[in-house]
Structure formats: structure tokens, C-alpha cells
């Protein structure tokens, strides 16, 4: 599925996003009538999703040379070894880049404020491994 289809599944049209409007458009079409039987009016069973605040992405670096990249594992099996390989890749291919491996504390969906502070203080970029 492409991103456009996915977002429209979510009820977010790319147009809507680009316009960043707070107004929800009624996108769902009325079911089309066809032969047979009287028509009924029925209620939408869905709940109320919270509004989404758009977050601008952090500014990019002009180059990674001499920078420190934190390699952050979410704790799924295999992620640690995978990031070790990413570290190896930088050593071989971009040796001026310094990498730091960290395991995020807490469950996979939890924030780790201590790690965030450390990355902010010492790091220039982050690569997170998600999946297993």
C-alpha cells in the first residue's frame, strides 16, 4: 500500500495534511443505493480520534563528517546486533563519523527522557532500529 492510500485509510488526505487545516472533511461516501428493499438510516459506530499536532522535522545536518550518531535500540530481539553492524558500516565507509550504541530503557512504546537528554547533549543525529 502506498503512503497516500494509507493516509486516506486513516482519514488524512494528503491535501488535508498539506493545508494543515483543523477542519475535518466528511470523507466517507454515502453507500450507493441499489435494487431491492427499503432504505434505512443507520449510525456511524466510530469513536472520536484526538486531533493531531503536526511536528516539524528537526533540521538536517549539512554533512555527517566528524559528527556523533547515536544508534538506539528499541529492545526487540536482534536490534542490538543489527545496530552493531550499522556501527561497523560507518567505521568502514565513513570513518570520521563517531557512533554510540544505546538501548532505550523501558517498554518499546515508552519514552526514555534520560537517553533523550544525553543524545541532545552529546549527539548530532540518531538512527533508531525498530522491528526484529
Amino acid at each position: 500500500m502506498n503512503r497516500r492510500n494509507l493516509l486516506s485509510l486513516l482519514g488524512m488526505s494528503p491535501v488535508l495534511l498539506a493545508g494543515a487545516t483543523a477542519e475535518a472533511k466528511t470523507k466517507a461516501k454515502k453507500a450507493v443505493a441499489s435494487a431491492g428493499g427499503a432504505k434505512l438510516e443507520v449510525l456511524n459506530p466510530r469513536g472520536m480520534p484526538p486531533p493531531i499536532t503536526l511536528i516539524p522535522m528537526a533540521p538536517r545536518l549539512s554533512s555527517l563528517d566528524g559528527k556523533t550518531i547515536f544508534l538506539v535500540s528499541d529492545g526487540f530481539p536482534g536490534a542490538d546486533r543489527f545496530l552493531a553492524e550499522v556501527g561497523d558500516w560507518f567505521q568502514k565507509n565513513m570513518p570520521s563519523v563517531h557512533t554510540e550504541y544505546r538501548l532505550k530503557a523501558g517498554g518499546f512504546a515508552d519514552d526514555d527522557p534520560k537517553l533523550n537528554a544525553e543524545v541532545k547533549a552529546k549527539g548530532n543525529a540518531v538512527i533508531m532500529a525498530i522491528g526484529h
Partner: protein
């Protein structure tokens, strides 16, 4: 954080990662995808992933990672503001056949026929509670922390209750379920299942089945209350979309109707579950469990002991493959509970005590179990591989519910943990 970041995601989570970034306000997040899985692959195989292409974009993976960290942001990527995702029109009009199809096609059902939620039927459902239709019942998410929470009103719960085939007298129980915010379709790659234990006089008032076939398709309240839980877990929090808000690799049949277990209080020699949790016997209460499925206990060793079956030993044997991440819930036929009473287990607590002491594992085995953990604290330093330790450190891992039609002294065991109990009366 203000520092450029690139998530590297295995391709199995592609849809999940994209929609989730969008829900969190970064619809255009730059994500690099690797082949799946990384678990179980050698270092060489993983390095080959890095030298190969992103299976989604087709670009060289590590070049893409570096590019994502250094290429300047576009105007869209820098956007701020607030978006509310729409959920569609408040009502739909068509023939009943077309509406059945429309609800199914739009992911609002469990893919089986529903009672169409007309205003008239929803109004009738709303008469099953004293609460106002616009009152907010709770908040739900397919996985707390991973997805934003949606909220919902009494009326929105009523629509789903109608669809499931519930009658208005079941509505307070369904509202109590919705009020907990617990989704029956928890998003995890583990295909987890949910159970609800029902206690109090409401069991008989609604004519719930706690006799023969209690957990099977033999009774309207058991079937439709369980089904309503799955429907609200789809419609009230955007859950149950395979690949996006549901990630269980293989899924579970139990997610259709969930495990609904009214306790057989009158035939039990033990204290009812809600009374154990501090409620009065006359209170109507629903208690929630969550974990890895349920299985039948009659295959285990110990149950064929003669002349008297050793139910407790059979239970302990049945816990062998259980993960200590979740607890052990045992559903005992009244014949089992009474048999255990004859063997000296006069209370659920006495049985839990025996099982906690006698259900053991070696340290070595725990190390090969993905969802089991070793004791922490000072004793952790002294653990050796051949040491035998209790599988669960505390007796509160064990819960017992008495239910069944007494045609055979059988029990079922679930690798599930107790979560909480809520009052049904509050929603009457």
C-alpha cells in the same frame, strides 16, 4: 528533540510505521526500511542488508540513511498546525443489504453479519442505562503509548452493542468494558487474547451460561457481549486494522468473541472472584485478564491418577510451557473445585500457595524462554544454571474461576494476567 533522526524499520512494519508517524504528527517522516527479520540472522546476513537496497524505495540503504540525515527539509516537512482525522458521516442511508456490505467493506465489523444500528435500535439500547447518550465513557488505544487514544460516548458504545446483537439489558456490562479502555485487539506481534470474568446476580438476570459449554456458542449474552468487545475495539479506537493497528503475526480465533467467563458461584466451594477483589457478593462486577491464550487441561499428566485425580498436579504440569511474563488463570469446572476441596484445598489461596511452590523451572531453562524472567535484586548474583526456582515469584500470579456444567472434572489453563475489576452496577 531537535536533532535529526532516522528510524530504520524492518519492512514487516512498513504500514504501521508510516501511519503511526502520521498519527503522531509527522506524516512525511523519512524512514529507511530493512528486510525482515533481523532476529535469527547472522552478522554477515545483517551486514548484507546494509550494503543492499531499502526494499521500499529501492535505494542503497545506508546511502539513504545518510541522505535522510543531511538532505535539507522541504516546506511540507517543516509544517506545523493541527489536524483532526475525520471518521465519516454521522449516519449512512441505504438498503439493509447494501449497508451490511458497506459496514463490512469499511472495516467497521468483524466480517460477520451485524444488526444494523438504526436510530430506533440505538435508542432502545440507550434505555438500558441511566447514563446520558453524550457522556464520555472512556479512552481506548490499540496499544498504550504506541497509538493515540480515542474517546467515545455512551451513544457510540450503544451503536456497537446493537451491531454485535446485544439486547439493552446487556448494555451496562458492555459500557463497563468500554469504560476500562482495554482493547480486545491489542497491537503486538504476539497474538494476544483477552478474557472477562463476570460475577454477581446479573449472571442469572441475563441468563448467562456458566454451565455446559460455558465458553462456547450456546448463549446470547456470552456470545454478543464478547463480540461487542471486539467491535468497540475496532470502532472506538481505530484498532484491529491488520498491518497498521493490529500486528499479531498469526492472530487468534479467540479475538472473535473473547473469553467470557461468568463464574458458577452457586456450585463453587470457594469465594467468588469479585469478593476476593473486595466487592460485595451482591455487586455485579466484570474482571479483566490478558495474555497468551487458553488451553484444555485434560491432556496433562496427573489427571488420570487412580482412584482420585490429582488436579493440582495436572494444573502445575499444564503450566510447563507458560511464560512468567503473564500469570496463570485456571478455569475449574465445579467438579474440579469440589474435588480439590476434598483433597484439602479449602480456599483458592491454599491452592495458589501449593502451585506457586511446586511449579518450578531451572535457571537454564528460563534463559531460553523469551517471555520469562529471572529473579532480580540481591539474589540475582547467586543464580546458577542448574538451580530450580519457582516459575512465578508470588502467589498473586495465580487466579481461579469456577465455571462449567459438571459433565466432567476438567479444567482449562490460561497464560493470562489479571488486570482490573470494574463495577457493572455503575453503568446500569
Amino acid at each position: 528533540m531537535g536533532i535529526p533522526a532516522v528510524p530504520m524499520v524492518t519492512i514487516a512494519f512498513k504500514d504501521l510505521a508510516k501511519t503511526n508517524c502520521a498519527k503522531r504528527g509527522m506524516p512525511l517522516q523519512r524512514i529507511a526500511f530493512t528486510p525482515h527479520p533481523v532476529w535469527g540472522k547472522t552478522d554477515e546476513q545483517m551486514y548484507a542488508y546494509l550494503e543492499g537496497n531499502d526494499p521500499v524505495s529501492g535505494k542503497n540503504l545506508m546511502k539513504e540513511v545518510v541522505d535522510n540525515l543531511t538532505r535539507p527539509l522541504t516546506a511540507d516537512e517543516s509544517k506545523t498546525g493541527v489536524v483532526t482525522p475525520p471518521v465519516g458521516a454521522p449516519t449512512f442511508i441505504d438498503t439493509s443489504d447494501n449497508l451490511q456490505q458497506y459496514f463490512l467493506d469499511n472495516g467497521m465489523t468483524d466480517f460477520m453479519p451485524i444488526i444494523l444500528p438504526t436510530q430506533e435500535k440505538v435508542d432502545a439500547m440507550l434505555k438500558g442505562t441511566s447514563h446520558k447518550p453524550d457522556e464520555v465513557v472512556g479512552k481506548m488505544t490499540p496499544a498504550r503509548g504506541a497509538f493515540p487514544e480515542w474517546s467515545y460516548t455512551v451513544k457510540q458504545v450503544a451503536v456497537n452493542a446493537v451491531m454485535a446483537g446485544a439486547t439493552p439489558d446487556y448494555f451496562p456490562t458492555i459500557l463497563a468494558i468500554a469504560s476500562t479502555g482495554i482493547s480486545a485487539l491489542f497491537s503486538s506481534t504476539n497474538s494476544l487474547v483477552s478474557a472477562a470474568v463476570i460475577n454477581g446476580p446479573i449472571r442469572d438476570k441475563l441468563q448467562m451460561n456458566y454451565g455446559i459449554g460455558a465458553m462456547g456458542p450456546f448463549n446470547q449474552p456470552n456470545a454478543t457481549i464478547g463480540r461487542a468487545w471486539t467491535l468497540i475495539s475496532k470502532n472506538l479506537d481505530g484498532g484491529g486494522i491488520a498491518g497498521e493497528t493490529y500486528m499479531g503475526s498469526q492472530g487468534s480465533v479467540i479475538n472473535y468473541n473473547n473469553l467470557i467467563i461468568p463464574e458458577n458461584e452457586k456450585d463453587s466451594p470457594w469465594t467468588p472472584f469479585h469478593v476476593q477483589k473486595g466487592f460485595k457478593a451482591t455487586d455485579n462486577v466484570i474482571s479483566f485478564f490478558f495474555g497468551f491464550s487458553i488451553s484444555q487441561g485434560q491432556g496433562a499428566k496427573g489427571l488420570g491418577m487412580r482412584p482420585v485425580p490429582h488436579f493440582h498436579e495436572a494444573m502445575s504440569a499444564n503450566f510447563a510451557p507458560f511464560a512468567s511474563l503473564f500469570g496463570a488463570m485456571v478455569v475449574c469446572d465445579p467438579l474440579v473445585a469440589n474435588g480439590l476441596g476434598d483433597l484439602g484445598y479449602k480456599t483458592k489461596e491454599q491452592l495458589a500457595d501449593w502451585l506457586q511452590k511446586n511449579t518450578t523451572v531451572t535457571v537454564k531453562d528460563v534463559k531460553t524462554m523469551l517471555f520469562s524472567g529471572l529473579p532480580r535484586g540481591p539474589q540475582a548474583a547467586n543464580l546458577t544454571d542448574d538451580m530450580v526456582i519457582p516459575k512465578w515469584p508470588k502467589t498473586d500470579a495465580f487466579n481461579f474461576i469456577v465455571c462449567g456444567g459438571q459433565t466432567n472434572p476438567y479444567h482449562q489453563v490460561a497464560n493470562m494476567s489479571y488486570r482490573l475489576s470494574v463495577s457493572i452496577d455503575k453503568w446500569v
